[in-house]
């Protein structure tokens, strides 16, 4: 039982999460978030999956959208709610503690115009990815957009090598510090198509080629 305790001592606190991510991505995370919600505006209803500390949810709400952010981690949501406190758009955001498997209980069918997920899919198993995409499809109204940002394996031998080495270090650090294992998301466009989406474009956002944003939409008539 004590191994568990040991692990909890090592586990990073949600308070440090935002700074850690910003640092690790050299500011790339902020730019990626801006790009994800570039065409979100008033009248949009956004479901942000794996909302974490709520950065993306608040950004979307700041542009006038109604946002539902869900996350399974209560500690992260506590930080998100704290940020919500005196935010001008706080009236348009609700945070719900729910995992991917509870999407069917939290998100109404066809009620959303945008579904976003940032750095969630790399934490999911292949089954969970399929499930999340199917549920996102259900929750979206026809024509609704799906925007996913995550880590992937770069194309090209040299980039893969650099990425592999960097990742080896990160895997070791993350195993020791936060006990979180993530795996790069490969083949997401195919999975999205299998779920019924039409994929509009996939953009690689960093020079190493290890980070992407995928835009897709649910067809108007199935």
């Amino acid at each position: 039982m004590f191994s568990y305790l040991y692990m909890k001592i090592l586990e990073s606190s949600p308070e440090r999460y935002d700074r850690g991510i910003a640092l690790a991505s050299l500011g790339g995370a902020d730019r990626a978030r801006e790009a994800m919600v570039a065409d979100v505006g008033p009248g949009d209803r956004v479901a942000d999956l794996g909302t974490g500390t709520g950065s993306l949810a608040l950004l979307a709400a700041g542009k006038g959208a109604e946002v539902t952010g869900i996350d399974a981690n209560a500690g992260m949501l506590a930080v998100a709610r704290k940020k919500l406190g005196n935010h001008p758009a706080s009236g348009r955001v609700r945070f719900v503690e729910a995992g991917v498997a509870e999407m069917d209980e939290v998100l109404e069918t066809g009620a959303y115009t945008v579904v976003t997920a940032s750095l969630l899919f790399s934490e999911l198993s292949p089954d969970e990815r399929r499930y999340a995409l199917a549920e996102a499809y259900r929750a979206l109204a026809p024509g609704g957009r799906l925007v996913i940002a995550d880590e992937t394996r770069p194309a090209g031998f040299f980039r893969r090598l650099v990425y592999g080495l960097a990742r080896l270090l990160m895997v070791f650090l993350s195993l020791v510090l936060v006990q979180a294992g993530t795996r790069p998301v490969d083949g997401l466009p195919r999975l999205a198509r299998e779920a019924g989406f039409e994929v509009d474009r996939v953009e690689i956002t960093n020079r190493l080629g290890s980070f992407f944003i995928l835009w897709a939409h649910k067809p108007e008539a199935p």
């Binding site: 039982m1 004590f2 191994s3 568990y4 305790l5 040991y6 692990m7 909890k8 001592i9 586990e11 399974a72 995992g99 991917v100 498997a101 509870e102 069917d104 198993s125 292949p126 089954d127 969970e128 399929r130 499930y131 195993l175 006990q179 294992g181």
Partner: protein
């Protein structure tokens, strides 16, 4: 490569979690009628489960336990009905099997609310044997458990398994320090360390004392006695080996830090100490429940026997005449919380000890 890492993690670094895949996995060639065995995604757990059911056709549903073993994760709130429900739903299990039954490890009972799983997924939960090696016989006997299958015994084999895997990570920094700065003492320290750890793990169940820390005193006394005797025999005076006494004492304290929680069906001393120091919460662990023993409310009890089914220490007993259940061995209870979690009547509470 992954298998080598998994083996090293499982054998030497068992204090650290190691995540295996979360998925619906096939053992043999399962079909829609095959049993579904649910377990946590700790690589060692998965490997041993597959080894123990070799030759059987079954589904293995590996749910998220954070890469921690089932018992620790269930007690610590990492492996609960939430993770089981998630695994059942995201794997689309309902489309793959015709029946609606899950078999869970008995030691997951402290964390998994069987009622919740049934309500959210339509699958009913049965708690199987404590050890995976009993699963084939359990399946052959129509999912009936013998008393031995219910019992978590901390046998010699279990203790030897724990000896290396739990103490390696304590020995490693010692070895690095002495290897680099005092190479002449390296082998002496290593022998002393594994000697103390080995003897402690072997004799632990036979030492008198209600807690692990009290039992530690016997080992300390024996250590001092032996070193005084050795010093005298060498003609250098009874306290001439004092550096070894100090070092040995430190090693003993380190080995016993949580020994009770590892090698015996006893409450964790380390947890109790933190609790006493005023640390009341650490993740899901050290909830108020952790320390104390079970209290049974006979007026609420409907004698369904679920507590008897999941208790790993046979604390409960059914009176053959009145058919009522009572905690016959309350002192054996180390408050894992399995009975409380499974009791549908709320007839069981854990009392602070």
């Amino acid at each position: 490569m992954n298998r080598v890492i998994a083996w090293i993690m499982g054998f030497f670094f068992r204090w650290l979690p190691h995540r295996g895949q979360r998925a619906l996995l096939a053992a043999g060639r399962p079909d829609e009628h095959s049993p579904v065995l649910v377990t946590g995604n700790y690589t060692l757990t998965l490997r041993r489960l597959f080894r123990d059911i070799r030759g059987r056709d079954a589904w293995v549903l590996s749910a998220d336990s954070g890469g921690i073993n089932v018992w620790c994760a269930a007690c610590g709130g990492e492996f609960t009905h939430h993770q089981v429900i998630q695994a059942v739903k995201t794997s689309r299990l309902a489309d793959k099997v015709a029946h609606r039954k899950l078999i869970l490890p008995a030691l997951s009972a402290p964390g998994v609310d069987a009622g919740q799983v049934r309500e959210k997924t339509g699958f009913s939960v049965r708690f199987g044997p404590v050890r995976a090696k009993d699963i084939p016989r359990y399946l052959d006997d129509g999912m009936q458990k013998t008393p031995a299958m219910r019992r978590a015994d901390f046998s010699l084999r279990h203790r030897l398994d724990m000896l290396v895997s739990m103490n390696f990570i304590i020995w490693l920094p010692l070895a690095l320090f002495f290897g680099m700065f005092l190479p002449s003492a390296f082998w002496g320290v290593t022998a002393l360390f594994w000697g103390i750890a080995g003897v402690s793990y072997l004799v632990f169940p036979f030492l008198p004392g209600r807690t692990g820390y009290i039992r530690m005193l016997w080992v300390l006394a024996a250590l001092v006695f032996l070193l005084v005797a050795a010093g005298t025999a060498l003609g250098a005076g009874p306290l001439s080996l004092w550096p070894w006494m100090m070092g040995g004492a430190a090693i003993t304290v380190a080995v016993f830090f949580d020994a009770a929680g590892i090698v015996a069906p006893m409450a964790s001393d380390a947890e109790a100490m933190l609790f006493a120091l005023g640390i009341r919460r650490l993740g899901g662990l050290l909830r108020e429940k952790t320390l104390g023993s079970v209290r049974h409310n006979p007026r609420r009890c409907r004698a369904c026997g679920r507590c008897m089914d999941v208790c790993p220490l046979e604390v409960f007993e059914k009176d053959p005449e009145t058919q009522k259940i009572r905690p016959a061995k309350p002192r054996a209870c180390f408050s894992c919380g399995a009975c409380k979690m499974q009791c549908p009547q709320g007839a069981l509470e854990l009392e602070g000890g």
